[in-house]
Amino acid sequence: MIRVQTEDFDIGAEVAALTAGRTDIGAVVTFSGLVRDANGGSLASLELEHYPGMTEKELARIEREANERWPLQASLIIHRVGKLLPGDNIVLVVAASAHRQAAFEAASFLMDYLKTRAPFWKREDTGGEARWVDARESDGAAAAKWKV
């Protein structure tokens, strides 16, 4: 399941909804990403821009790929867009499986691929001129290790 939304999400409620009525899930791994102020107090807000249409397609593709590689009972990707504040939630990835290894690996894979494939862009507003965040080479390397 994928969702792109401006609203916040509740990790506990999302996991509860994903596992409700299921008795075949033995492991749930969640990853959540938050807006971090890397420069100690100078970040006023973060604007998340995306490519409506392609974003949903890419997230669905990434999720499908994870489900082909690992035996997942359920998966969920939520990504927020719009104006966010330091400490706010940005992204949630949930992978549920019978055993922990598949859930850990799938959650890691989902994040690595989301960061290099899904068309989102971050712009930092520090009060002065807003700055587009540069892509990190380490994210590309993290995604490359999965050899898709």
């Binding site: 990403g33 998340l48 821009e49 995306h50 490519y51 249409g53 392609m54 397609k57 890419e58 990504h79 940005i90 992204v91 994040m111 989301l114 960061k115 290099t116 494939r117 899904a118 068309p119 989102f120 862009w121 971050k122 712009r123 587009w132 965040v133 540069d134 892509a135 994210d139």
Partner: protein
């Protein structure tokens, strides 16, 4: 054909989206970019360093050599920074 621009590519080009008719000789993404660069300073500024330009043809990631014949939508943007 619809062209879309995102993040700083949109800001430099000065446009978010536009409908264009490509010249007949344009075959691929690289041809689209070469043509755009002749259309004004904003496009020239946006596309002066192709190492930081990414594209999608009909909402699929593409490259400079991706054909554009029959495409309905081409998007240009910087490397993605979500997550």
């Amino acid at each position: 054909m619809k062209l879309l621009y995102f993040a700083w590519v949109r800001q430099k080009a000065g446009v978010a989206e536009e409908d264009v008719t490509l010249p007949g000789e344009v075959r691929d993404v690289s041809g689209v970019i070469s043509w755009l660069r002749t259309r004004g300073e904003g496009y020239e500024a946006a596309f002066c360093d192709l190492s930081v330009i990414r594209c999608a043809v009909d909402q699929e990631h593409g490259g400079l050599d991706t054909p554009v014949a029959g495409a309905t939508e081409i998007a240009f943007f910087p490397p993605v920074t979500g997550g």
